[in-house]
Structures are given as structure tokens and as C-alpha cells.
Amino acid sequence: MWSEITKKLQETVQNIMPQVEAVIGWERGFNEIRIKPVVIKKEGDISKLVWNPFCVQNLSGYLVKSPAVIPREGRRVAICVKGCDSRSVTALIQEGFLKRDQIFIIGIPCSGTVDWRKVMKRLERSSVIHRAEIKDGRLMVEHAEGVEEIPLREILLRRCLRCVYPNPTVSDVVIGETVSPHIEKEDLYKDVEAFERKSLDERRKFWAETLSRCIRCYACRNACPLCICQDWCIAERRDPKWVTQKPTLKDILLFHGIHALHLAGRCTECGECERVCPMEIPVMFIKEKLNETTLRLFSYEAGIDSNLVPPLLTFNPHETGI
């Protein structure tokens, strides 16, 4: 199934190659479960492109954050997107970082991507993977110590298990069949609600403990396609000075407050921040809360309608009770 979609993807790219400057997609990494981003600029490289549940990266950041692939006047850049990634693209268009006619969107419906860390934990001592194959909802891994079969559901990323937009919301071409989401929309924030049933003390304790693991590598910020300040990020600038380099809980919390509040009403829940965290901190959970808030207060979901302005970048004089 994945090889078929890969083949179709390569054919599609072959056809559009003359119209576009480059194609941003995925290619195999150092083993079958580690996929990496690739920018295809010449026809000979098209065969590198792949699509399968290991294609975890949200590539939309490569359209805006350096080293961004920016098309020349009148040309376009093609990008492969899953459902969640397509929302990032829409959000970037909404906020004026990108023009719709600069990009060609290759949409791929996605039934969930794999958390390689969850796979590695199942393999215990073995770390060398010879072969991996996904069939009928199960992953089969041949590794140095034998063969392991794992139901796919058990190794999906958290973001995928709670995804309600698995099909691209915007695209120029769609490859593969429409898929249905893992959860109902009304269950989207049930984790947030459950957490809010705990006492304030428990919540404070949870974050103090969880965030104390943070090494402030800023990978979460760097991976976020909507965290676009880069060198101007106030977490690193010394003027104004917000965060210090001291390894204290205060500085960590402040950094996460900055990321979360700057993403309020903008985050599309693509889960990249959480996926890249080397300390396995549920970074997206903080943003889920803010999204639950902006949905309730402003009936707004980020990255769905390119004509809407994110709620905190605008106002409504007639709003009452606010």
C-alpha cells in the first residue's frame, strides 16, 4: 500500500516538475523507520521520495524558516503535506508569510505516523533495525535480536491518536484515499478537561516536575512552523531581557510561557514541538489548553480557513462579556 502511494507520489512529482522550482518531501533516513526531509531540485532525484507512516516531519517550516526554499518570481515550490501539515500551510498563508500561488500542495491523507521512540522501547536491547514493514495495521521489525510485531496503534504519536484532520484541508492534488480520524471532534480536548479536574496544586506540581526535565535546547521552538521569529525570539535576545541562561525552573517556565502564549490562537496542533523534544516532555499539551480556550471563546480553529484572521491578531468591538 505504501509503495503504491510512493509510486503515485513520484509520478505526480514527475508531472509537475517542469512547473516548480523544487519539491519538499521525505526520503529514507539511516534505516527504514527513520525518514528525513528532502528537497528535490532535479528529475534524477525524484526516486528518493517516499511516503509511509514514518514520514513524521511537518515540512511546512521549510517554506518560511531559514534555510527556506523560496521560489523566484512567478515560480512555485511544491510541498508534500499530511492533514496536520496542511493546516500549518494554511496558517502561514493566513498570517501573510506565504502566498497561495507560490506553492503547489501535494496532499496525502494520513492514518497516523509512528513514534520511533515507542518502537525502540519495544525492542529492548536491540538497536539495529534491518527491515521494517507495516501491513494490516501492524508493524513488523526485523532487528539484530529477532523479529518483533507491534500493533500500529500502540506506536503512533500522541498527536496522531487525537488528530481530527487526517485529510489535507488544502491541496492542489491529493494522493491516496480519504481516511477517517481516530477520534470524534468533541473528544479533542478531553485530556485537557481531565487534567483540569485535578487540584491546582497537583497541576502546578505536574508542570514543575515535567518541565524541570527541559534542557532548553529550543528544539520545540525550532521545529514549530509557526514560531517564525528565529533570531529575534525573545527567549534568546538579551534586549529586552526576558529569559536568562541560568538553568532554573523560572527560566524554563518563562520560555514555555513565551512559546505557548505566542502560539495562542495560532497553533494548529501539528505536534512537532512534542515530537522533537529529546526529553519527552508533552509540550503540545500546553498549547492544547490554549486552543481549547480560543475555540470556546472565539469559536476559532487555526489553519482551517485562510480568509480568517487569528483571534488574537484582531478584535471585535461588539464582543460582550469579555
Binding site: V192, F195, E196, L200, D201, E202, R203, R204, K205, F206, W207, A208, S212, W242, K246, P247, T248, L249, K250, I252, L253, L254, G257, I258, A260, L261, A264, G265, I286, K289, L290, T293, T294, L297, F298, P311, L312, T314, F315, N316, P317, E319, I322
Partner: protein
């Protein structure tokens, strides 16, 4: 004098007030000039407009252990820059809803509108907010001095 005594007995709370230069700052002044009695826990920071109020100002204060943060600006439609407070109120609502998720009482943050002539109203706002914070008690915040790498080093 009687007021002074009272504050001495109850420990003073650390409350930050961010007041818009064009209205609430004047309102606080009006209250002072009219010699209206006010609690003394509030430390005022003047801002050019509530639109200048980054929710992170309040966030940083509260995680650092401030007991309360009060923001006050011009009434909606009276903002000196027309719409600063309309942007601001959305941000404040979001912040208020966010704080408890991290374990901070949302009542520690409050925003309101007071014009330069409303000295009386200012007195009520400060008195009520200070009372509320006294009721909540000290903000345990987060243990800010924890140096996570080497707690002896500092």
C-alpha cells in the same frame, strides 16, 4: 493612621498594577488627590495603553511569585489609540483561562476599565482586588530558585 496599622498587622501582599497612562493612572491620581483611602499592597507600573500590555508581563510576574496582577485601562471605545484595549481584552481573557492550567489561581489576575475621573471607582477596584488577594494568600508560585543543574552553585 488607622489604615497604616491595619497593613502592618496583615502582611502586605505583592500586587502589581499595570495602569494605562491616559485613564486609570489618572483615575488613581484622582483617588489620591481626593484622599480616598486605599490599601497599600499595590505597586503601580504605568503603561501607555492596555494594548501595550503583553500578557507575558503578568505571566512572568505570577510565576515569579507576585501575589496578584491588576490591569486597568480606558473603557472600551475610549482608548486613546482607539482599539488598544479591544485587542487587550481578548489577550487577558485567554491568559485568565490559561493560568489555572499551570496551577495558578485565575483570580490572581484581573483586568478592568477605570477612567481618569473615576477616583471613586478606582478606590473600589483596588480595595476589592486587594481583599481578594489577601483572601487567596501568598502565591506559592514555582520554586524559582531551584537551580536544576547544581543547586549549591548559586
Amino acid at each position: 493612621m488607622e489604615e497604616r496599622e491595619k497593613t502592618k498587622n496583615n502582611t502586605e501582599m505583592r500586587i502589581l498594577g499595570f495602569l494605562c497612562n491616559w485613564c486609570s493612572y489618572g483615575g488613581a491620581d484622582t483617588a489620591g488627590v481626593s484622599r480616598l483611602k486605599q490599601p497599600t499592597d499595590l505597586r503601580i507600573i504605568r503603561i501607555p495603553c492596555t494594548g501595550r500590555m503583553d500578557p507575558l508581563f503578568a505571566f512572568k510576574a505570577l510565576i515569579s511569585g507576585a501575589d496578584g496582577v491588576l490591569v486597568s485601562g480606558c473603557h472600551p471605545k475610549d482608548c486613546h489609540y482607539s482599539v488598544g484595549n479591544l485587542y487587550a481584552r481578548r489577550r487577558f481573557e485567554v491568559l485568565k483561562d490559561f493560568l489555572p492550567f499551570l496551577g495558578i489561581e485565575s483570580d490572581r489576575f484581573h483586568y478592568t476599565w477605570v477612567s481618569a475621573s473615576e477616583g471613586q471607582r478606582w478606590q473600589e477596584v483596588v480595595t476589592e482586588f486587594s481583599r481578594r488577594i489577601h483572601e487567596l494568600g501568598r502565591n506559592p508560585g514555582f520554586d524559582m530558585n531551584t537551580n536544576l543543574v547544581n543547586s549549591e552553585a548559586r
